[in-house]
Symmetry: D2
Subunit: 319 residues, 4 copies
Amino acid sequence: MLDRTDPEGAVAEAAAAYSNWGRWGADDVLGTVNFITPDERRAAAELVNLGVSFSLSQSFDMNGPQKGWRRRTNPVHTMLDTGVDAARGTQGFPHGIGGADDVVSMPLQCSTQWDGLGHIFDHGRAWNGRDAAEVVTSAGDRITGIEHLAAPVAGRGVLLDVGRALGEDGELPDGFAVTAEHLEATARGQGVAVGRGDIVCVRTGQLTRARRQGWGDYAGGPAPGLSFTAAGWLHSTEIAAIATDTWGFEVRPNEFDDAFQPLHQVAIPHIGLLIGEMWDLDALAAHCAADGVHEFFLTAAPIPFTGAVGSPVNPVAVK
Amino acid sequence: MLDRTDPEGAVAEAAAAYSNWGRWGADDVLGTVNFITPDERRAAAELVNLGVSFSLSQSFDMNGPQKGWRRRTNPVHTMLDTGVDAARGTQGFPHGIGGADDVVSMPLQCSTQWDGLGHIFDHGRAWNGRDAAEVVTSAGDRITGIEHLAAPVAGRGVLLDVGRALGEDGELPDGFAVTAEHLEATARGQGVAVGRGDIVCVRTGQLTRARRQGWGDYAGGPAPGLSFTAAGWLHSTEIAAIATDTWGFEVRPNEFDDAFQPLHQVAIPHIGLLIGEMWDLDALAAHCAADGVHEFFLTAAPIPFTGAVGSPVNPVAVK
Amino acid sequence: MLDRTDPEGAVAEAAAAYSNWGRWGADDVLGTVNFITPDERRAAAELVNLGVSFSLSQSFDMNGPQKGWRRRTNPVHTMLDTGVDAARGTQGFPHGIGGADDVVSMPLQCSTQWDGLGHIFDHGRAWNGRDAAEVVTSAGDRITGIEHLAAPVAGRGVLLDVGRALGEDGELPDGFAVTAEHLEATARGQGVAVGRGDIVCVRTGQLTRARRQGWGDYAGGPAPGLSFTAAGWLHSTEIAAIATDTWGFEVRPNEFDDAFQPLHQVAIPHIGLLIGEMWDLDALAAHCAADGVHEFFLTAAPIPFTGAVGSPVNPVAVK
Amino acid sequence: MLDRTDPEGAVAEAAAAYSNWGRWGADDVLGTVNFITPDERRAAAELVNLGVSFSLSQSFDMNGPQKGWRRRTNPVHTMLDTGVDAARGTQGFPHGIGGADDVVSMPLQCSTQWDGLGHIFDHGRAWNGRDAAEVVTSAGDRITGIEHLAAPVAGRGVLLDVGRALGEDGELPDGFAVTAEHLEATARGQGVAVGRGDIVCVRTGQLTRARRQGWGDYAGGPAPGLSFTAAGWLHSTEIAAIATDTWGFEVRPNEFDDAFQPLHQVAIPHIGLLIGEMWDLDALAAHCAADGVHEFFLTAAPIPFTGAVGSPVNPVAVK
């Protein structure tokens, strides 16, 4: 039972109970991604039976959910050259060739993303017990930058479609706290078991709703999401990563009177867990609901921005 | 035999000979990626035997090759918040949580990338015969934007390590034109056959050299690369995509007296070929050289920027 | 009397009546800024009696009015280094020096600005009758870029505080069309005469209201502003420039059934008029109301971005 | 006589001797700009005799001096819409209106600029003795941001053309340390006296040379500039601001064996001096050399980016 008045105590207790500090050595920069071993990855590839692939990424454009909060804008994409210019033949190239280039400015946290290990701290401590001030300076994350995850994030993906399992018309309402029991019941009902090294995709249906009704407060407002009480499950299952179709992974409002993303505070710096947000699980979920198969080979490789504390990602599931 | 004085004629001839316009219907937006069928993809997944994964992406940071040419900079990555701030406890969050966010500004063509179908035109014509001016305006590529490639680019990857096969110490010299014969000889020597739907990775060794000697003119200068004469091979093999470890895919200087990337002018608008550039094939190539296996499962999903004519990509090969 | 159903006809008529094409030669790149002669500028400097200066610029930050329309964001300002880093002494500099740098990404039209001569076209024609397609390509404005206005925009400024003169509590309501008669009456009432070469600052009070009530639809929504019928006044007065405290200079909704900024279409390409938008005239206006002096020396120098069609500007008035 | 081995000692000594901490109260955010009083500004306006104006700004574009050092790029300017699009009539606007917008990404320190008071620290201390960590966080300069200088920087400008006075063909060689004696001799020779509240423009001629020979190491390399020994002069003259035509204001290499911009370390946090860099003084200097008048009215208003530690500026001198 959570004491709504004491998030700090609850975080401290969970941090102590579920810490992975030192588990992979003092120099570790991967956290729970260490759970994806070559054996897990090889076994995951055997899940490919149909050869169909799904992108789990939202579109990156000005129609995204950001509203400026915390200086987060949607991606601003502009052209350096266009076909209109090329068709006029004034680009200065020989033999009739023409070209178009483009540029983007964006927060790395603006759309479908991975949170890197340097994204969240607990009382000035980063993953593996490091001093946050030593890890992430204005020069970026000098130790656990997202570039370290360039290669390994390919393995078994599991979809837990909690929206379909427990929601109405496939959608959980805002404020719905998804507990370990909900996750386990969903897994059982959907015929899949979560295991070591898995990349777990939790669909709440909120994105489906936002797509239908408009973004509203999708970016930062009320949302279904993981309960703080699921911290133990995140730890004991030894999953490699978890992602949701919501802005912030956790249930919002959080389950304390005055709190901001307390589960992050346990999951990233203490468990070393890789968290994905704003994933678009709808096409994949429809397919899984139809064929009853909720596991697949998943590659979710961040763009290796050196020193970044996160990255846009286009996760691709293959069944 | 190429007539060095007539690139325009050579392009026209190759365009006529190797055009795929209409092959997948008037509305096609995928080009040769259509060659990756579910069957091809399923078969490719069976190539995973070891479960080891390789990132084929360069690092995205200010130490990249760009020098400002065509307004192309290296990615500028800045922090919106840092661990240093968090450690001081002045971020305004409750219960000891702290966070770091980041932002990037960059050309989509600055590092490891896919060229979209809207990236190159021939005399004002884009892929499938469309009017370039209708396809790519200041609003971006309204028809063949890179977002259409969000899901399908996962299939069989084949490494042709031409640098190791034909170069000295594993590297081709700048200006070396890689012909169809070179590609075929390399494939034979490395025990692999290129086939329909493959994503072909051609290592020249230039990136290895740049890494040793400094970037120099890597971005736009002399380089080993595909010969214009390889256009027929690109077409007849029915490959889905091809990528090199060089800035511009083609041999530089080009094989005509006054020319700029004439093979692009055939390959993108006429063949509809997906081209990758600045891929880092070195770690994968070393592994392939060691175990003699040059095929693998490759996922190379662009970030789906709506209307973009290209995208950074972190291709992940799994053997 | 405007025919609300025929904006195109009204624009054509006004364009014919008020065109300055050719007035300063075929090569002109300054438009009405030509009216600011050294004599005008010298005389303007004599208006400085108190030595007090006023900035007429809004703040440039994420609290600005932009909402993403037309890919216009507020300025995103990030730090490359901070004092927090410096205080830790980890920046790598010798003898105790520390530093902070910063970066910005922004539309040039996001806040207090000048519209350059390449900002608006009439049926494909730019200022002085040029082909818009020859003037502004993806490479920017190759002929009338804002850099040409780097030096000359310093001269006599005149404040017409129409809000105070005609509004309630100093503010005109949204949709209020400011006519030539309103401008002249305001000038008379405020003891000032508009003349050749003047930079006219028209305060409607809308910014005051937005500051009090929140931005709402300030960027692009209903607003007080210049009536289309003022085109003749803009021409005959031979003013050098005009600026308002609103997003779009003109009254919104525009005075035609289906229209978008028709006065711009006359004023910029045909009159060659320099237009300022989103200026903050409140502090200056309060001072002018108090001392009854509505003229001053005004310097409003754009940042000379080569080829830009506009620029942020911090206009400084000295009385 | 400087002890080349002890920059830290020299800085400490100068800081103690020339500190203005507390001079304008504990809450001061303007530093030496306080020296520009209304009286000074009114008197400065009387210097306008000809009515001719000069921009002292370099062009802001990709042809600038930056090379990526400290993540500083040249400004990247892109178009959101173009005249080419407008001429095709496909922008979606009614009655034949067309438009062009643009966007820029840039470091605030990339070209002609003011260094804000939050730009440099001495052993973790910012202007007026404040803790640097309290002043400039990832959120920007929360106390002495450049926005505070939006209005006051208009006053008497004085050109000291040291290049013409002491250099060969008007240019000082790289490494030339400009001392107080050089400045005074130049002033005497050019018939001007530096006084309280002045904005002093020091031309070394290095920009002239860079324009002729190419940028080379202009951004950060060897340069003529102020000698560390001029610190006392900067303080005792009670000037409001000083600007040079070089990247870094100080002589480079600096006058100590292992040092980086030690004069900044005294001038900004201790004197509270406003420093300008990369100003283009050539056109103004040619005029001053011709007519012998080296004083003028100068407006140099930064763009008021909230919390910025510097700003691009287009200074306009009127004679």
